[in-house]
Symmetry: C2
Subunit: 318 residues, 2 copies
């Protein structure tokens, strides 16, 4: 959701005093991010996003995320720079919670991508993988597939409260997917959550890749599978859009050719990617009251995509 | 709350196509407004607020609010202009709901005002009253004191669920306040909701008065009483700050001297102002789930201020 914590302008001015960013001119709490609070901050020197880290993001992981942004922006990737304090710190506490100031990037998210958008985001993801290859820090996923399978097992008795199809699609809560998932694929730093709302475009060009707070050290091909599962389905009826899927693949491979062992792994990786989003959405379903104020994301959206990938072999990745 | 409705970038681009404001460059849903959804929209030509009107704001009243902004900004008041479409319209529908594009104003809200802020906002309110004197449209309040008293009567049985003090402060739900409220005070267009978060400052100067969606044709002195009740109490312990109260009054009177019959009405008007916010907060208390995601405003904050005004006579208005 957004803006869990209320900060006064005075608190935000106090925060900014540690940075060389000029005087505060405007601040708006923004409705973005699922596990942190965000403000769009304008100063006499520019615009920034102030992110305060709430639940789910572990404070110990923040140096990984913020250093990754620094590493990637130093390599001219379209990611927001971390702004450092006068004394060189990447983050500081506000109200006892860690917070960071990052660059604001212009651009708009495309909800219904066309082929050229898909090609460009494929290129951008491959560029990210290449640029992060010498990033020295490591992070384990806190939402690995075994963890997601366990999350689903703990909720299996309540699946029918969401949709009776859910137990039919995931009768074993993903045990089989976990067990056959390849573990020897080329690895590096991956975004792991590159949904359309985390990609900004201006005039058809990617100007921003944002929200790296699920990034970890994992299989490049899994990141491509997340991208495929997140982008290639029509919003209106959740059907597969082969043109988008192909454009994502073509864009990615224009910069980084898949290795021989990666391509055959894509069907099972795509199922695993869907499983990961089903798991957190099932969790959120029961944690979030149905009051109309907070939009719950439908677990069935990715359950249906999982079923599609399970039935389709390698056809979606041609 | 904020952003009840999710709009895609394509929908926002479609909306902007009716305006001469350039190309969309960025859009962020913002966490402002209690009864509408707001987006901060950046185009190649500037920044704007797109407001979609949800519950509580009646579509029939929107021409009043939007024309008032046009009237006041034409008189150089620090209010956002309404941007008109190519064909001169002030609003249009998006997803079947009325929406308007208004100017973005820089500035920050001061949560803990100092005397100079209070003086300046007093000046600004008086300027608003003077500038709106020839505004030709009329609007009745949908939250008049008789309506608020009725709202409280309908919830009286549940007061103890909020706080046992509430029934002690308002044993008659405000019947007495309603009955003795003067009805012959000088009238005009009033803001009626000029809380600190609806006033923007840059370097100590008022740069923005925003959120006119409770404005109506009413007593100027009631608007001053709202200002007094909203600004003059310490956030930490809700005690009266006489320095702030005096600065508000001095600022207001520096531009518009109170008439003889207005001054003695202030103590009862201030109680009525508090009553109005107690009434809507009591309503919202029972309408809003206590889930930690939505901040419920505490009805007791204004119940305590009401009790203070009831006991203090005209001392707070010296």
């Amino acid at each position: 959701m957004a803006v869990y914590t209320h900060l006064t302008a005075a608190e935000i001015e106090g925060f900014l005093a540690d940075y060389d960013v000029g005087e505060l001119r405007s601040v708006k709490g923004i409705a973005e991010g699922v596990s942190n609070s965000n403000w769009l901050v304008e100063t006499t020197q520019g615009r920034f996003i102030l992110t305060m880290f709430e639940a789910r993001t572990e404070a110990a992981d923040l140096p990984f995320f913020l250093s990754l942004l620094d590493h990637l922006s130093a390599k001219d990737q379209p990611v927001p720079r971390t702004i450092h304090t006068h004394t060189g710190l990447q983050m500081r506490d506000v109200r006892g919670k860690p917070a960071a100031l990052i660059e604001f990037l212009p651009g708009i998210s495309i909800d219904e991508p066309e082929e050229p958008h898909a090609f460009e985001v494929g290129v951008a993801l491959a560029n990210l993988h290449l640029a992060a290859q010498d990033f020295p820090r490591l992070r384990k996923s806190s939402l690995s597939i075994p963890i997601c399978v366990d999350m689903l097992h703990s909720r299996a008795g309540q699946f029918d409260a969401i949709d009776q199809q859910l137990a039919q699609i995931l009768p074993d809560c993903g045990d089989h997917i976990r067990d056959i998932l390849p573990t020897d694929l080329p690895q590096g730093t991956i975004h792991a959550d590159l949904f359309p709302d985390n990609v900004l475009f201006v005039d058809g060009a990617v100007t921003g890749l944002i929200d790296f707070y699920f990034a970890y050290t994992g299989a490049f091909a899994f990141d491509l599978a997340v991208l495929h599962a997140a982008w290639s389905f029509a919003l209106c009826d959740n059907t597969f859009r082969p043109d988008i899927g192909s454009a994502l693949m073509a864009g990615y491979e224009s910069r980084r050719a898949l290795e021989e062992r990666e391509r055959p792994a894509l069907p099972i990786l795509a199922q695993a990617a869907c499983l990961r989003f089903v798991a957190t959405r099932v969790e959120d379903w029961f944690a979030t009251p149905e009051d109309g104020l907070v939009r719950r994301k439908d677990p069935m959206q990715f359950a249906e995509r999982l079923a599609f990938y399970a039935q389709s072999g390698d056809a979606p990745f041609q």
